[in-house]
């Protein structure tokens, strides 16, 4: 199990300096346009001429391509194999092998679905690679996101790697005591409880003290919270966000209107 807080890579770049909300608006614009447009090649164009250049302007291009590839390759293989063979509307066989035949419509469908998912996943990656989760949350809190929600998200981001670390320790410890994690299905199912038990109870016990600790620091104070982190935002970016909003509405509108 990999222990990692987030995808964020600290760099000095134009994209890093953008206000988090602007980037978030950009992400949703890409996704909504990709999914609502009926133009077959649009998601492909959005990826190669929109997201890839953005990632390089943000100086995270290599990590962007590598992560996109790693996250989506298994899904794409699955998607292409299954859809090209089993797509319900498939009528034009491209090649046949025994009882299987690859259909053109299946391949086309798999490509469109695949590129749309590509835009969805990789546009989020542009945001995540260039934005520290803490900056994102501070900015959203400043704009009215409830502090409790921001607290939950940022503290989850820190707890997960800790718990993964604990899980690895417990797995090692139980294996060295002879726990079988490799045997048949029943043995492996039986291994679940000795691994999960200590992990879950250990972390649940901490909940009470952690609640006391944040209450001691006025977590529930009724006044309006302030933020230590100063996040830049410009009039230009506000205009940009309005523009993205219009694009999104236009994309959704055209979708409804055309169908």
């Amino acid at each position: 199990m990999r222990n990692r807080l987030s995808f964020y890579i600290p760099r000095q770049s134009l994209i890093h300096d953008l206000n988090p909300l602007t980037k978030l608006a950009l992400v949703f614009t890409f996704i909504i346009v990709a999914f609502s447009s009926s133009w077959y090649w649009l998601p492909t164009i959005l990826f190669f001429f929109g997201l890839v250049p953005l990632s390089f302007i943000g100086k995270v291009g290599k990590a962007f391509l590598r992560t996109t590839f790693r996250l989506l390759l298994p899904l794409f293989i699955f998607l292409f194999v299954m859809q090209s063979l089993f797509y319900p509307g498939g009528v034009t066989p491209l090649l046949s092998l025994w009882i299987f035949s690859v259909k053109l419509e299946g391949v086309q469908f798999a490509y469109l679905t695949g590129t749309r998912i590509l835009v969805m996943v990789s546009s989020f990656l542009v945001l995540l690679l260039t934005t520290h989760p803490s900056t994102l949350m501070s900015d959203l809190t400043r704009r009215g996101l409830p502090g409790a929600l921001a607290y939950i998200i940022t503290s989850t981001l820190q707890i997960i790697p800790q718990m993964q670390g604990k899980a690895n320790t417990i797995i090692d410890a139980q294996r060295s005591r002879g726990l079988d994690t490799e045997g048949n299905l029943f043995k492996r199912a039986g291994a679940l409880l000795p691994l999960v038990g200590p992990l879950v109870f250990g972390s649940l016990v901490d909940v009470e003290e952690r609640a006391i600790a944040i209450e001691a620091r006025a977590f529930n104070a009724p006044c309006k919270k302030t933020s230590l982190i100063e996040i830049s935002d410009t009039g230009f970016e506000t205009a940009l966000r309005w523009f993205f909003l219009l694009l999104m509405l236009a994309a959704i509108g055209s979708r409804i209107w055309l169908s």
Partner: protein, 291 residues
Amino acid sequence: MAILTINNLTYQYPSSPQPALKDISLTLESGEFLAVIGANGAGKSSLCYTAAGFIPHFFRGELNGQVLIDGVDSSQSNLNELVLHAGLVFQNPFNQISGSKFTVYEEIAFGLENLGIAREEMKARIDEALALTNIADLGKRSPYALSGGQQQRVALASILVMQPKLLVLDEPTSQLDPIGTQEVFQVIRAMTKRGMTILMAEHKIEQVAEFADRVIALDAGEILLEGTPGEVLTSPLLPERGVGISRYTQVARRAQAMGLWSKQTHLPATLAQAVRGFGGADAAQEVNDAA
């Protein structure tokens, strides 16, 4: 001026058959350092939670008697108000990290952000707290990537920035290694020099002897002994009730049995007192005076 006044307090946790605190009365004056000792389960933590308002507000349960924290009646107030008057630091440093901040500097800001303090003042207060707790060099580190002693000082700084009148410390070093313990006590020493009012539960008797102006020994939720460190810490009642005694007291008591410590000399609780005690009658007189 009294910072903490407790009158005839009896408290029982919601699902517990007997009270955790029985008929406790005490006063803590401004600038005073009160130490609370006692065996495990004697009620030290419960008393700390009461002094910080978490009893009855967080733990609910049944509270009789009166608790005034910095003049505010605890039962009539709420936790959001009370944490402005009393700050709580407890054993486990790890669990006191808010979890929602990625650097020590931001972590210390957490309480101030919740209170809606302006950014400039926030920074000034954080810098002061960092200096006071001796962790100015850790500002950019993750609060999770620190030693126990460092984490506990971050916890202390996080409470101190909120500028409470009363600092409640519930065995702040019980889960730390010797170096961490030393680091934390250095900060506590600095706090006492600044005239901070402190209530500390502690089982390390040597430390209690060094810091406390006054000591309370709890036994099964009741006050067993109350007085100066010299009176309370050397009492033969303590080992009977499962409370540890200072190693210096122990050595002197042995020495007394062997005729090496005069029966007239008060038993020591600190190293300095022991040294003077073994140093001869003149020094012993001084120890008695001091105690």
